[in-house]
C-alpha cells in the first residue's frame, strides 16, 4: 500500500476490514522509515518496538469490534510535543533522554482513534525557527532537493510517505513553510480550536498545534478528532459549548477569495508567477476573486518577532539546570546558570533569549514590546476587516524557496522567511497551506486564510484546487 497515493480513510478501512493488519502496516512503515531517515535526517527518535506493540494492540481492539477511525494510521510527532513513551528533546541536546510525564492532547486523541506514533521529528534549536537549520542534530533535507532544507521534518515524513499525518507546531510558520517546501498540505487551526496541552511553546501567544498531511482530505479526516474543549488549555474555552464552525461549501455557494495585490510585490518574479497562476486557476474553478489590501505585513513580522523573543526569554527560563536540564558545575549560583544554559540552549535559542530579555527590560518594554502589542491589535483588526469583504484570502506561504543546507544566511534573513506566515499568526485566523505550483522542481505553497473556525471551508476550497504537484519525488 503506497501511503502517498491513498487516503487516511481508505487505509483505516483496509485495516478495519482485515485487508491488512495494523501490525503489517506499521512494520512496513518502520522499515521504510529507517531507509529514508538516513538520507534526510527526519527523526530524533523512532518508536520501533513501541509502535509495533501499539499496532498489535489496535489489531486486538479491532478483533473485539473496536471502532477506530484512524486504525493503524502511522503518524509522526514534532519533538516539541510531549509523548510519554519516547524522549522529548524540545530541540535541545540536553533533553535527548527526557521522558515527559504527559502526552500531548492531540497525540492522545489521535492514538485513541487508532493512530500509531512511529517517531519524534527533528526541529530547530528549542523549536525556534522554520528551517530546521538550527537543530542541534543538524537540518532535515528536503525530499525534493536534498541540498535544501525541508523546513519541517514532519512535512518531509509526509512527503516521502513515511507517515500519513504529522503532528506539528506552528508559531511563526514552521508547520506551514515546511508543508509548502515539501509540497504537501498543512493546517494551522484557529486559536482555541485544538488543545495545546503538551506543547512546549517558545511563544505561547502564537504557538498552535496543527496537522500536516498529503491532502486536504486527510486533514479533514482528523480535524474533528483533534478539535474541541480541553480543560488543560484555557484557550479552548471558546469551544466549551461546541465548535463555532463557519462552513461554506464550494460549488453550491458563492465563495469569494481575497487577493491582496500588493503583498505579492515582495516576491521574486518567478514565485509571483506561481501565485498569479493559482489565482487564475481559482477563478477558472468558479471562485470570485476580489482584490484586497493588506498593508501591515512588514510591521506584523516585526511585531511577531518582538513578542516571540520576549516570550521565549521567559518560557525558556525554566531550562536553567535546576529542575530541567543538566546542572552545570560551578562554585556559585550565577555561574551555574551560565554553565547550564550554555549547555541546554543552542546559539539560536540563546540569541532569542538575550534579545527577549532586552526587549522586556526597563525602558525597552514601552519602546518595543508595548508597540508590538499595538501592532498585534491592528493586524487583528485588519484581517477581520478584510475577511468581511471576502470568505477567505490567499497569501504566499514562504517568502523564499527553501534555504540551502550549506549556504551562509544571516539570522535576520532567516527570520524574514516568516514574512507571510507571522502576520497570519498574529491575526489568530486559521490558515491552510496547499501546494500552489513549483519553481525549478521545488514545491511552492500558498496559504488560504479564513475567519475564525472556518477550517472546514478552507479545507473544502483547498481540495477543489486539486493536487497541484505534477512532479514526482
Amino acid at each position: 500500500m503506497e501511503l502517498r497515493k491513498t487516503t487516511v480513510h481508505r487505509v483505516a478501512e483496509a485495516v478495519l476490514e482485515g485487508e491488512i493488519t495494523a501490525h503489517q502496516l506499521i512494520d512496513k512503515t518502520l522499515k521504510n522509515c529507517s531507509v529514508l531517515n538516513e538520507g534526510l535526517n527526519i527523526f530524533n527518535a523512532v518508536a520501533g518496538v513501541d509502535a509495533t506493540e501499539q499496532a498489535r494492540a489496535i489489531d486486538e481492539k479491532i478483533k473485539q469490534g473496536g471502532e477506530l477511525p484512524l486504525a493503524g494510521i502511522p503518524i509522526t510527532v514534532k519533538d516539541d510535543l510531549c509523548y510519554g513513551v519516547l524522549p522529548t528533546s524540545f530541540g535541545s541536546s540536553a533533553f535527548s533522554e527526557f521522558i515527559s510525564p504527559v502526552t500531548a492532547a492531540v497525540v492522545e486523541s489521535l492514538m485513541e482513534a487508532g493512530a500509531v506514533v512511529i517517531g519524534k521529528t527533528n526541529l530547530d534549536d528549542m523549536g525556534q525557527g522554520s528551517t530546521t537549520l538550527t537543530s542541534p542534530g543538524g537540518a532535515t533535507a528536503n525530499p525534493w532537493q536534498a541540498e535544501r532544507t525541508a523546513g519541517s521534518a514532519g512535512a518531509a515524513a509526509v512527503a516521502t510517505g513515511i507517515c500519513m499525518l504529522a503532528v506539528e507546531s506552528d508559531s511563526g510558520g514552521a508547520l506551514r513553510q515546511g508543508a509548502s517546501h515539501c509540497g504537501v498540505a498543512g493546517l494551522r487551526p484557529t486559536t482555541g480550536r485544538v488543545s495545546r496541552h503538551g506543547l512546549n511553546a517558545h511563544c505561547s501567544s502564537f504557538a498552535r498545534v496543527g496537522i500536516t498531511a498529503f491532502s486536504c482530505e486527510n486533514i479533514s479526516g482528523v480535524l474533528d478528532i483533534i478539535s474541541g474543549f480541553d480543560e488543560r488549555d484555557a484557550a479552548t474555552a471558546v469551544c466549551r459549548k461546541g465548535i463555532p464552525e463557519i462552513i461554506k461549501t464550494p460549488g453550491s455557494e458563492d465563495i469569494t477569495i481575497g487577493y491582496p495585490v500588493t503583498a505579492f510585490d515582495f516576491l521574486q518574479p518567478e514565485l509571483r508567477e506561481v501565485f498569479e497562476q493559482a489565482r487564475d486557476d481559482f477563478a477558472g474553478l468558479g471562485y470570485k476573486i476580489k482584490n484586497i489590501d493588506l498593508g501591515l505585513l512588514r510591521e506584523g513580522l516585526q511585531a511577531y518577532y518582538i513578542i516571540a523573543l520576549a516570550e521565549a526569554s521567559s518560557n525558556h527560563a525554566r531550562f536553567d539546570g535546576i529542575r530541567f536540564g543538566k546542572t552545570g558545575e560551578a562554585d556559585n549560583l550565577e555561574n551555574m546558570y551560565f554553565q547550564s544554559r550554555a549547555e541546554i540552549l543552542g546559539k539560536e535559542a540563546r540569541r532569542r533569549s538575550i534579545f527577549g530579555t532586552f526587549l522586556l527590560s526597563k525602558g525597552n518594554y514601552g519602546r518595543y514590546y508595548r508597540q508590538a502589542l499595538k501592532i498585534w491589535e491592528l493586524i487583528r483588526q485588519e484581517f477581520a476587516g478584510v475577511l468581511k469583504e471576502c470568505d477567505l484570502l490567499m497569501l504566499p506561504t514562504a517568502k523564499n524557496l527553501p534555504r540551502q543546507l550549506k549556504g551562509e544566511v544571516s539570522f535576520l534573513d532567516e527570520w524574514s522567511d516568516d514574512f507571510f506566515c507571522a502576520p497570519v499568526s498574529l491575526s489568530g485566523m486559521p490558515a491552510l497551506t496547499i501546494p500552489a505550483g513549483q519553481v525549478n522542481r521545488i514545491p511552492v505553497g500558498m496559504q488560504l486564510v479564513g475567519p475564525p473556525f472556518s477550517e472546514k471551508t478552507l479545507l473544502a476550497v483547498g481540495s477543489t484546487s486539486g493536487p497541484r504537484d505534477t512532479g514526482t519525488l
Binding site: T88, H197, R232, A234, A317, F319, D320, R323, Y337, L360
Partner: protein, 481 residues
Amino acid sequence: MKYEVVIGLEVHVELLTGCKLFCACPNRFVPEPNVNTCPVCLGFPGILPQMSREALQQALTAAVALNCKVALYSYFDRKNYFYPDMPKGYQISQYHIPLGSSGYLEIEDDRGVLKKVGIGRVHMEEDAGKLLHETAGASGGSSMVDYNRAGVPLIEIVSEPDLRSSLEARRYLEKLKSIMQYAGVSDCKMEEGSLRCDANVSLRNPGEEIFGIKTELKNMNSFRAVEKSLDHEIKRQAGILDSGEKVATQTLRWDEDRQETIVMRGKLEADDYRCFADPELAPIQLAETEVEKARHNLPEMAGERAKRFVEEYGLPEYDAGVLTASRCLADYFESCLEFFNKPKEVSNWVMGEFSAHLNNAGLEADQASFVPEDMAELLQMIDNQEISGKIAKEVLEKAFQGGKKPRRVVEEEGLLQISDQSELESIVDRIISENPDTVESYRGGKSKALGHLVGQVMKETRGKANPQLVNELLVKKIDSQ
C-alpha cells in the same frame, strides 16, 4: 522625635483554598518536602496553568472587604527572575492591573482617633518554593528546594504610605488580620507564614511634602517584630539624619536574635523583573454583578458582630468587644450558645477561664480540644446545680488539658455536688455543735457569722455541697434550736 515617620506595608496573605492557584495540588502544609507537587506547579515544559476560580473568589472577597475598587478586567503577569525557588524561572503575579485598588481600612491613630489607611492595591499571585541551605562542610554546602508551597495562592496587599508610627503599623496589621479572618479568606498566622509583612520606612521634617529616602525591612516574623524592627529602623534613620548624612536606599533584614536590622542589598542590585502579561492564562473578567454579589455576601466583620452580640444576646459592649476581637473566639462563643443558650454566662466563661487557658497554651479557640459542646456541658452542670462554679473551674482546667469530657472529669474525680438533704443534715448538725460561739453571734445579729458556718460545711465536703442548700439548712436548724 523631630521627624515625621512615614511607613507603608506590603503584606502577603495565603488564601484558604483547597487547591493551589493554577493546579489541583492541595493547598495544605505538610512537613515532607515535594509531596504536594504536579507537572503544573513544577513547571514541566508543555503543561499549561489553569486559574482556580475559588482563589479568584477569595481574592475578590478580600478586595471588597478592604473597600477596594475592583477591576472588571485584569490579568496575570509574569515576574521574571532567576532563582531556584521558582521552578518556571518566573512568578505568576498581577503587576500591570491589580484585582483591587484604592481601598482603605480604619485604625485608631496614636491619639486614639479613627483614621483611614489607604490600600493602594490588592493583587493575586502564586507563592514560591522554600529553599533550605545546608551550611558548608569541607566539600561546600548544598541547598535543597521544597516546592510544596510553590503555586499556593497569595494576595499581596499594599498600603499607601499613610502610617505614621510603629504602633499604627501594628494596629494596621491587627485590623488587616481581623478583616481577612472575618472575610474567611485566610487564617493569617504570621508564625506559620500565612501572613508575611515587608515594611517601607522613611523620615521627613514635619510639614515637608516630599518623602525622605526609604529603606525596606524584611524578615519580620511576628507583629511584635514588625513594631520593634520599625522602632529600631526609625531610630537608626533619625541618627543618620541628625548627623547630617543621607539615608541610603537599602533592603534590610530584621535579625530576631540580635534585635537589629542587617543590610541585605543596596540599590545597585535592584531587580528588573521584566513583567509582561502571561500568554498562557486567559484574562480575568468579572461582571459588575459578581462584584456586587461579593460585596453583598461579605461576611459580618468584627464591629458589626459586636453590635449584634449586644443587640441579640444582650451582652455588655465590653464583652462583645472582647469576644469579637478574634473571629475564632466569636465563632466559639456562638457555637456554645447552640448547646447552652445563656449568653452572659457563656460570655463570662469564654472570656475568662477559657481565654486564660488558650493564652497559656498559645492556642486559638478553634485549636482547643475543649470544644463548644464541652463548654456547654460544663455550664449545664453548673446550671443543674450538679457542680459549683468553683468546682467548674477545676473541671475546665482538667478537661482542657487532658482532652476529657467535663462530665467524665466530674465523675472520675467524684466532684458531683451534694444536694441530698439527709447527707448534708448530719454535717450541718456537727458544724453547729462544733461552733457554738459562731452560732451565738449569728443569733446576735451578725449575718457574717452564717457565711463562716457555710464555709465550714463546704470545707468539710471539699466544695461539693450545694451552697444554697447548706445555707437554708443552717438557718432552719439554728432557728429551730
